[in-house]
């Protein structure tokens, strides 16, 4: 386990929103979709990268001295960071004690991750609490993921994998025996729209779900509700209709769009494409959930 490495960007303890009970969520870095509203922009690239929170910067200049690439320069009011020169060595982050420069993502061994996971182990065993592997797309690091899942099952910890499903089904075959719950994201059913909003069509995603229904222990579908993308009754009818005959789906959760990620985009020097969109209202979320419920599914609007 200490020889299997992966790249993660966060481990969240006392996580209550990614599966049942009290959980620890491990966020894998790297995703092969490019959803324009992505709530975790730091999860997209597979490699570690630098995040800058300029409001914390005290302009001490230690990062400039530390950078071997001369990628940081001072202008009259602030520091300018040339990301194209950055080799992600992290020396500027080590030098920064005001936490203005943070490394998003780090390469860790499965053992490192397990040592974090077991910290809250006593809390997992009630109400199906446990561990959720999320991201990013955890299935892109399936070897690392599988090692962690097996390690959890050895300790009888409930496991969940939060996936967008855009990988070969082989990967699901590999991990399904050690996964108690799949949190499976469905953005929309229309293939062209899916390509338009995520950069990828959903053929593989939908066919994987169909096959997964035969081997998974339990599946919870998660639908991010994005204004203008999938927030009409029609969108929900399509999703409800598609999901109605699956056997292992116990719940469909509708997750509202939020714009709390904006500052993260800024910190990573990325353009925020969902700017100006506002979060759907609670009542609207409930209306949409009731459409899906009308197909005999247990749909819940998460607030």
């Amino acid at each position: 386990m200490n020889k299997t490495y992966g790249c993660i960007f966060d481990i969240q303890r006392f996580s209550l929103h990614d599966g049942p009970g009290i959980r620890t969520t491990v966020f894998f870095k790297g995703c092969n979709l490019r959803c324009f509203w992505c709530h975790n922009p730091e999860s997209i690239n597979l490699q570690p990268e630098i995040q800058i929170y300029s409001h914390k910067c005290v302009m001490c200049g230690r990062c400039i001295t530390a950078c071997p690439q001369n990628a940081i320069h001072k202008n009259s009011k602030s520091f300018v960071f040339s990301r194209d020169l950055c080799i992600k060595c992290g020396k500027c982050v080590d030098a920064c004690y005001s936490n203005a420069r943070v490394m998003a993502g780090k390469t860790v061994s499965a053992l490192d991750v397990m040592s974090q996971i077991i910290k809250d182990e006593p809390f997992y065993h009630d109400n199906q609490g446990g561990v959720t592997f999320s991201g990013g797309e955890p299935m892109l690091q399936s070897g690392f993921l599988k090692t962690l899942l097996i390690a959890c099952k050895e300790k009888e910890i409930h496991t969940a994998v939060d996936t967008a499903g855009n990988v070969s089904f082989e990967k699901f075959n590999e991990i399904a025996p050690y996964t108690d719950l799949f949190l499976y994201d469905i953005k929309c059913i229309d293939e062209n729209k899916h390509k338009q909003v995520t950069g990828s069509n959903n053929k593989k995603i939908l066919s994987n779900l169909l096959q997964l229904d035969n081997i998974a222990k339990e599946i919870i579908i998660r639908v991010p509700v994005i204004p203008g993308m999938n927030d009409t009754e029609e969108d929900m009818h399509m999703i409800g209709d598609y999901l109605k005959s699956f056997k292992r789906i116990t719940k469909v959760q509708l997750l509202p769009f939020h714009n709390m990620a904006e500052s993260k985009y800024e910190s990573m020097g990325m353009e925020y494409k969902a700017k100006g969109l506002s979060a759907p209202k609670k009542e609207r979320m409930q209306e949409l959930a009731s459409v899906i419920s009308s197909y005999g599914l247990n749909a819940i609007a998460v607030s």
Partner: protein, 718 residues
């Protein structure tokens, strides 16, 4: 019952009267309260009490002088009767507030001053009560039984003990006088009220209290009335009746008997308990188990919980959690915590409390009988002198002493040397604390004996010895440490920034601290953003664990010089502000004279996310392990834990922490961040807002600004 005189209407009226009292307190004292809301009424402006001195300092000392002055106070103190009440009893002031000076200046402990000050020790000399009376014993004896018992033992006593018995007898005379005046007041009011139902109720209450002066309580209503009387008169002495203990066990025989006879309903019982807790916000334990692990939860556990839930006033009810606790009861307790948002109940863990106390050499049977009855503490009813939650050692002051000593020693400074110096001073601080407690036990009875507690304990009347002077069977003295996180984080920051990363020198940090970081803001930021105790696995966590190990070893290595057992714990109570004011800037980036960290909690904001389980792990890892608590204080935003799922999650969280991780006590605030921020700006907008400050809950609007800020800072960093 007639219209307008239902239990619900009467409770509403009593609560309205309580709100009016809260308003009065605000008008009279402003926002200055740093204490529990105890249930006492505001004394009229023209009420003056002048004690009779027996000493040139103008103070009064010793059993007889204290007894006489108590009797005088009870004779002069105004009495009030509420026509909606189901219990008589009211109180406004305490004798101790008029005891100036509190300590007899002839009995000097100047030889301890230097070190007490150096380590900022709250030494406990002059500390009153903070142990537990035995209400079962009191109910069994009744006031007449207590009076007869004093007379019996006084008759042939040694002449040296005469004064003690005279003091006790004076107290009982005062109590008879005070109750009799309430009875007269009730009869007087009965004549005045137009409503015959109300008049009959008042006459019935007067008759009942009259009976209770002649014999012990027989019914549930009488038992609750008797408790109310003792709470009132006990608090009027030195606040000593702020605790009842395991109320559900104490009242159970009366409840069962009345139910069997068909003279009591559950609604009646709830109303009586409500009225009791309005008269005095007493610390109670409910739930728990016997020595074999059988659940103690009974109908009264539910009734007490229900009473607190209905009133939503600051309460001090604690649920004792164990593996076999009644699931419905536990569910209800957690549900009320989450939905009432008054910080009540709090939760104590039977496992760690019982097994820890047994490590002092006591049986399991005795250990389970040691019940929760104060902010953070337990005591054996009527048998144990404890000085609980009084004696505190400020770890931050000890650290400061060690740091200065090292920097001035001429030796090459290092974290290792600092650690050794710190441990040396921890041991010295414990030693001087122990001496102080011996001094208290030797002399307190000559200054301000525990006369009211003596009435309800086993031993003092029999032996003619005050509870503070060896009158009780057990003495287990509580020694708490405070400010753990500040010291742990300071050590970690020094190790990281000076020795590991070599970013600054000892000389630089020394100058930065001496200048309170003025001109050294970058160093402050650097120190502040080092490792924090609470995250788990950091050097700061290791320091915290080691500090506690050394502290426990220092407390447990030997008893006090006079041979009394000491029990370590970690709790700052509300002393975080004064203790902070005693110490300059610290290497964790803390500015001079600002508050120290709360109890054993990590510093607010120690972790960006997932702090609840991290905090639970951290505080579980620094338990002292001898049956005194190391409480965890948690601030939880209600959006985190919603609905049924939220209740289940919290049930898991609490039971895992207390049953599996070795946790002792959990104090939890469920509080809306926006609401608390708004209330801080304008407290008058939220007169009913209750927060858990620490081991106690209080009206937010009555707290001093410093205290409000403390609570707010914890919340916004949640």
């Amino acid at each position: 019952m007639t219209n307008g005189f239902t239990y619900a209407d009467r409770l509403d009226a009593l609560l309205t009267a309580k709100r009016a009292q809260t308003e009065k307190k605000f008008l009279k004292f402003g926002r200055t309260l740093d204490l529990d809301d105890r249930g006492n009424l505001v004394a009229p402006d023209d009420f003056v009490f002048t004690p009779i001195p027996n000493h040139k300092s103008n103070g009064f000392f010793g059993p007889y002088a204290c007894g006489l002055n108590y009797k005088k106070l009870l004779h002069e103190h105004p009495v009030t009767v509420d026509e909606n009440a189901c219990l008589l009893g009211s109180w406004m002031v305490m004798l101790i507030d008029y005891k100036k000076p509190l300590w007899n200046p002839d009995i000097s402990y100047a030889h301890l001053h230097k070190e007490q000050k150096m380590y900022d020790i709250v030494h406990g000399i002059g500390g009153v009560q903070h142990f537990l009376a035995d209400y079962s014993l009191g109910l069994q004896l009744g006031f007449n039984g207590i009076r007869d018992k004093i007379a019996f033992y006084e008759k042939d006593c040694d002449v040296s003990k005469k004064e003690f018995y005279q003091g006790l007898a004076a107290c009982v005379e005062g109590i008879y006088d005070y109750i009799t005046r309430h009875i007269a007041k009730a009869r007087e009011l009965a004549e005045q009220v137009a409503d015959t139902v109300k008049a009959d109720n008042l006459r019935m209450l007067a008759d009942m209290s009259e009976e209770l002066l002649k014999r012990p309580a027989k019914t549930f209503h009488e038992a609750v009335q008797w408790m109310a009387w003792f709470l009132v008169v006990g608090d009027m002495y030195n606040g000593c009746a702020s605790a009842v203990g395991d109320i559900d066990r104490i009242l159970k025989p009366y409840y069962d008997n009345d139910i069997k006879q068909g003279i009591l309903t559950e609604e009646q019982a709830i109303f009586y308990i409500c009225n009791l807790l309005i008269i005095d916000n007493a610390y109670c334990q409910i739930g728990g188990c016997d020595e074999f692990g059988n659940d103690n939860t009974n109908e009264l556990s539910h009734i007490v919980l229900e009473a607190v839930h209905r009133m939503k006033i600051p309460a001090s009810v604690c649920v004792r959690v164990h593996e076999n606790i009644d699931k419905n009861f536990y569910y209800k307790a957690v549900k009320y915590l989450l939905t009432d948002r008054t910080g009540s109940p709090n939760f104590i863990g039977d496992k760690a409390m019982t097994e820890g106390f047994m490590k002092n050499g006591y049986s399991r049977k005795l250990a389970v009988s040691r019940v929760k009855c104060g902010c953070h503490w337990c005591a054996i009813p009527g048998k144990e002198y404890t000085l609980n939650d009084i004696v505190k050692i400020n770890f931050v002051a000890v650290f400061d002493t060690a740091f200065k000593e090292m920097m001035n020693s001429g030796q090459e400074p290092s974290v290792e040397l600092l650690w050794d110096t710190f441990i040396k001073h921890i041991n010295k601080a414990v030693a001087v604390t122990a001496e102080g407690m011996d001094f208290q036990i030797e002399h307190m009875h000559e200054v301000f004996p525990e006369l009211l507690m003596d009435l309800l304990c086993e031993g003092p009347i029999e032996k003619g010895l005050d509870a503070s002077n060896g009158g009780l069977e057990y003495i287990n003295l509580c020694v708490d440490g405070a400010g753990l996180a500040v010291v742990a984080d300071s050590f970690a920051a020094l190790e990281k920034r000076i020795e590991k990363n070599k970013q600054i020198t000892w000389d630089q940090i020394d100058k930065a601290l001496k200048n309170d970081y003025k001109g050294y803001e970058d160093i402050q930021l650097m120190m502040k953003n080092s490792d924090h105790y609470g995250n788990g696995g950091t050097i700061a966590d290791t320091y915290a664990e080691n500090i506690v190990k050394e502290f426990v070893a220092a407390v447990k290595k030997e008893p006090t010089p006079k041979g009394y057992n000491m029990i370590p714990g970690l709790f700052s109570w509300a002393n975080t502000i004064p203790m902070g004011k005693a110490v300059g800037a610290t290497p964790n980036g803390r500015l001079a004279y600002t508050p120290i960290s709360h109890g054993a909690n990590p510093l607010p904001g120690f972790k960006d996310s997932g702090a609840l389980t991290a905090c639970a792990n951290a505080v579980a890892s620094v338990q002292c392990g001898y049956g005194n608590t190391v409480p965890i204080q948690l601030e939880i935003n209600p959006v985190t834990l919603k609905g049924e799922e939220g209740i289940r999650t919290m049930m898991t969280f609490i039971s895992v922490y207390l049953n599996k991780m070795g946790g002792t006590l959990m104090n939890i605030n469920i509080m809306d961040k926006e609401k608390i921020l708004d209330a801080h700006k304008d407290p008058s907008k939220y007169p009913d807002l209750i927060v858990r400050v620490t081991g106690f809950c209080a009206y937010f609007a009555l707290l001093s600004e410093d205290f409000r800020k403390l609570v707010v800072d914890r919340m916004i960093n949640e």
